[in-house]
């Protein structure tokens, strides 16, 4: 039997036989109380230091790793469908670590790329996938994607914007509209990849799919190990049958498995310290219980609808470094910008977030999330290119250098995190015929880029 199938069957079995726990108890008692207890036991409460947003202390990262490891063993994941806990045994985590490959290839032909586990300050450049599932109008989808992916040196994989309509019809999630949309998006991807001259570009999931129906609709076009299926687990540490469906679909179609799970400051995890040990536990449990080839996870701050504030930057830095220093697990780490296209703030937020994730040891990112993903058509190729420039250029920087730059940049936008500028839509600030930003947008880009180079960010392109 395929070892991934064996893992999934074992976890499904535990989902039907593990300790009983209601969702309400899990969210309001088990998660907060266990997290607090583990933090207290490891003397890691009140460790967040917003004045030094990017952690530079290996001992801190290792101490949090130990706490996250204990938490993973103690808590497991909840299956809300059966209201039972799926626990992991220590030997399973250790075995999963041993079996983790040294690298993972994605894409094919001239577009083949290699993802590797990265240590903090690793010189090996991480991979960039574009974009997060920001909604675009149908007529803009292909041109924007062509623009984003045409810069081969900056973009390694396609997830893509999402759609709200299929052939002009409004899509309701979980209905046949969504199943049709899955196939439709896959067709649009093929067209965009052909037009951009990148037919072998690695693809991830179906961006518009909000349930397993959309995934299933698009999967036949994404079969094979060049592409990844995607399954995002609900917070905190939950895995639903819908997640299992997607994982099994991915196995059936021979895909790489990208399985995600997030931890929220201000949510059930509470503090930045709580969110980060839950994030470490997520990074350990997902490959162990859900057979992922790589995880997609990060710490998010629900108080500001993003993760570019000091608390979240710090929490992500520690969480990423902790797992990078102590395992070879590969992880896709996402930055959630809140400002929109054609704003300085977007460039600053993404620069801080991506520099942090890169120097801390992330193997891959999926970007951008322009305007927090709130508005339709607020996504241009320039944000994607910028994210690629920053994320890849920062490979090899030290955490100390990155922290010094972050300390200069964060004050430029942090007061606006609670009310970020919306910016401009793609049609207002980007010419999709010439694939160039407007003069105004280009000027903002040039100004910020020059400023960051002066600060010491080694931007290469």
């Amino acid at each position: 039997m395929n070892p991934k199938v064996q893992k999934i069957l074992t976890s499904l079995d535990r989902a039907h036989s593990g300790p009983v726990c209601s969702v309400k108890d899990w969210d309001s008692r088990v998660i907060p109380r266990t997290t607090k207890a583990v933090l207290a036991r490891h003397h890691l409460e009140k460790m967040c230091n917003p004045a030094e947003p990017i952690n530079t202390d290996d001992d801190v990262a290792d101490a949090f790793y130990k706490a996250g490891y204990d938490l993973a063993l103690e808590i497991g994941m909840l299956c809300p469908d059966t209201e039972r806990i799926i626990k992991a045994e220590e030997r399973e985590i250790q075995q999963t670590m041993k079996e983790t490959p040294d690298e993972l290839t994605l894409g094919s032909g001239a577009d083949l790329v290699v993802m590797k586990p990265r240590r903090p300050e690793d010189p090996y450049p991480p991979l960039v996938c574009v974009s997060l599932g920001l909604v675009l109008s149908e007529e803009l989808w292909v041109p924007v994607v062509v623009g984003m992916i045409q810069k081969k040196h900056l973009v390694d994989a396609l997830h893509g914007p999402s759609l709200r309509t299929v052939y002009g019809y409004e899509v309701r999630s979980g209905t046949p509209y969504e199943t049709l949309l899955g196939r439709y998006e896959a067709q649009l991807r093929q067209e965009a990849m052909f037009r951009a001259g990148r037919p072998g570009l690695a693809q991830t999931g179906i961006a518009s799919a909000t349930t397993e129906y959309g995934h299933l609709g698009g999967m036949p076009a994404l079969a094979g190990p060049a592409n990844s299926t995607m399954s995002l687990c609900p917070v905190e540490l939950k895995v639903t049958f819908a997640n299992f469906h997607r994982i099994v679909q991915g196995i059936n179609y021979g895909n790489r498995l990208r399985v995600g799970g997030y931890s929220f400051i201000g949510g059930y995890a509470g503090s930045p310290e709580g969110a980060l040990i839950l994030n470490i536990a997520t990074d350990l449990l997902i490959p162990t219980l859900l057979a992922s080839d790589y995880t997609s996870s990060y710490v998010y701050d629900v108080r500001v609808f993003g993760n570019c504030g000091r608390d979240a930057v710090w929490a992500n830095s520690v969480a990423i470094q902790a797992v990078s220093r102590n395992t070879r697990f590969m992880r896709n780490k996402i930055v959630n910008e809140t400002a929109g296209p054609c704003t300085e703030m977007f460039f600053y937020e993404s620069a801080v977030g991506l520099m942090n994730h890169c120097v801390s040891g992330s193997s891959k990112t999926t970007q951008p999330r322009s305007a927090g993903g709130k508005y339709q058509d607020y996504l241009t190729p320039l944000e994607a290119w910028w994210c690629g420039e920053v994320f890849k250029s920062c490979a090899g920087m030290t955490r100390k250098q990155a922290n010094e730059i972050a300390k200069v940049l964060i004050p430029k936008y942090e007061a606006q995190l609670a009310s970020p500028p919306k910016g401009k839509s793609v049609t207002e600030c980007f010419d999709l015929n010439t694939m160039r930003p407007s003069a105004e947008y280009q000027a903002i880009y040039d100004r910020v880029k020059s400023e960051l180079i002066d600060l010491g960010m080694p931007l290469r392109w």
Binding site: D27, S28, R164, Y177, G267, A269, G270, K374, S419
Partner: protein, 229 residues
């Protein structure tokens, strides 16, 4: 007398429903007027937890558990009041849900917890909730407000379906319908004929308070609580 009121407040702050209910009963048995118990015991506890939350001194779980404790104590106390007095102590009834196809719960849970803390009676139906189920519950509890959340653009149409169903069934004037969530914006609220939009959980609470205090459904234009431009 002070001691039992203090215990009630602390039971709510600590999120202990059984202790809160017991303290409420004890206070009544001691002859303390129910309105005084609510004001100086229960409300003091819930206000304290609300302030801690706004200062980031506590987080969502504490808020949810405090709401549970408040909901355990309050029926005991309200039963000792006249119907008019009891009604005057509640700001209104809210049925809240994340709509079909969407299992994101955290934003909705924060709004539900803050509404409870603010004094609303909240009926939280959970996530991925069907339109009919929302409307049945609103009808059953005689809700004042239907609050609909989603983080997914392809679940947005279900918010519209709630408003449209109310219109088509001649029940639109019975409820305020308010919307929120990641892809939800004021123009969407306007487009579907919702009564209000709140960007953040705190905005949602202010929205519901103002709707209840000053307006009747349906609104001609949605009342919008958003970031200042």
């Amino acid at each position: 007398m002070e001691e039992v009121l203090e215990r009630l407040a602390n039971a709510i702050i600590d999120g202990e429903p059984e202790l809160a209910e017991a303290a409420a009963k004890e206070a009544l048995a001691a002859g303390i007027p129910p309105l005084e118990i609510i004001e100086r015991g229960a409300n003091r506890g819930i206000q304290e937890i609300g302030e801690r939350f706004s200062r980031y001194d506590c987080f969502l779980p504490e808020l949810i558990l405090a709401g549970d404790a408040m909901n355990a104590a309050l029926p005991v106390l309200l039963a000792s009041l006249s119907a008019a007095e009891a009604k005057s102590l509640r700001l209104g009834k809210v049925v809240i849900a994340t709509v079909t196809g969407d299992i994101h719960d955290i934003g909705k849970n924060i709004v539900a917890a803050l509404l409870t803390v603010a004094g609303f009676e909240v009926f939280d139906l959970g996530v991925n909730v069907d339109v009919k189920q929302i409307l049945r519950k609103a009808d059953e509890v005689k809700a004042d407000i239907i609050a609909l959340s989603t983080l997914l653009s392809t679940s947005l149409p279900y918010q519209k379906d709630v408003v449209r169903y109310l219109q088509d069934s001649g029940k639109r004037e019975r409820y305020f319908v308010v919307v929120g969530g990641g892809p939800v914006a004021p123009d969407w609220a306007q487009q579907i004929g919702a009564d209000g939009y709140g960007r953040t959980a705190a905005h949602a609470v202010e929205l519901c308070k103002q709707l209840m205090a000053q307006y009747e459904p349906p609104m001609r234009e949605p009342l919008v609580f958003d970031y200042k431009a």
